[in-house]
Point group: C2
Chain length 175, copies 2
DNA sequence: CCATTTTATATTGATATCAATTCTTTTAGT
DNA sequence: ACTAAAAGAATTGATATCAATATAAAATGG
């Protein structure tokens, strides 16, 4: 009598989702590429994410956190957390912005630049090998398409909801 | 004697990496898509990853863990961890395989199927909206290219290294 | 049948990710 | 200046991710 009415989604639907879901495909490819670059960069003491983050800090002027998080399409709190191990290693310095004491300015240290310099040729080789393994033109096309996707969701908050709270309602309850 | 010799990577290199790194582009797009689907699926009490995982369990026969992890291109230990909250919710059952008592068989419960059924229309709508926002043909092309990337790294261990240890050497030491 | 190896999964520890919240500082409005 | 609102980050708590390792059971080779 329990009768949860087991809605029985057809297997064909499962196959459809499995084959068409862009989000699933993106997560899979992201995991696979992360492992590829993590393995390659391990001798340099960096993960793929740390490499990208540190490279994004290699600028003429130390950037504040907000724009860096936006560039990497990650939550600001994720960036705060990601900086911790890099600060501990002495590769990144986080200093108060004298012009706005709420803000922080992020900069590579000398050691950080050296580590990044050691990682760079590994990145070059790994990426070149990846490019070569992909069918001609795939690489550039994929890059553009991925950029479209991340660009679609970033800065442009649809009108009709300007300045919404950080996110809608309570977290998933899952009764 | 410290002499870290601050290798000064040119800013142009930073821009090159930022613009061409497939791994970075994949991570950004994956994060953006994850947020999109997480937000949409929240009322159903699922994240995008939980949705994909549960959908992959909607089969005629309960699969063991290995193939599911491979399908999702995730580490087996990640799958073990990902199952925990779903088991707690009573949406997925993990049972010992009577044919091979090392293994586990994964199955959706009735409640799990019901939850997945509630999430399905949300996925459909979200994905349709996403497709519509992408330039014509981008969606299918992106899917194919992503599949090539994840497929490139999965089952086909190059010869000349058969049965390598789970991963090469020690973890990144950092310095 | 027993010892060795291999296979399937779990555990531990570290980092990554994000929602919700809090704290501080700045900016706006008066 | 004073107050209220907004902005930038940090913290907390939960899940995700993976390397290294451990455990158990099956397969394999005498």
């Amino acid at each position: 009598m329990a009768m949860s009415n087991s809605v029985e989604i057809p297997f064909s639907t499962t196959l459809l989702v499995r084959d068409t879901c862009l989000c699933l495909h993106a997560q899979r490819a992201a995991r696979a590429l992360a492992r590829l670059f993590d393995d390659a960069l391990r001798p340099a003491g960096l993960t793929n994410g740390q490499f990208s983050l540190m490279m994004s800090l290699n600028r003429p002027e130390p950037p504040p956190m907000g724009p860096v998080a936006a560039l990497l399409a990650m939550d600001q709190t994720t960036l705060t957390a990601a900086l911790k191990p890099l600060q501990r290693k002495g590769w990144v310095s986080v200093m108060e912005n004298p012009k706005d004491r709420r803000g922080r300015l992020l900069a590579l240290t000398g050691e950080g630049k050296a580590a990044l310099g050691r990682a760079l040729p590994i990145w070059k080789d790994t990426h070149a090998a990846l490019d070569k393994k992909l069918p001609d033109g795939s690489s550039a096309r994929l890059r553009q398409d991925l950029q479209k996707v991340s660009g679609m969701m970033d800065g442009t908050p649809k009108p009709a909801e300007a300045s919404r709270p950080r996110r809608q309602s309570g977290r998933a309850t899952g009764d």
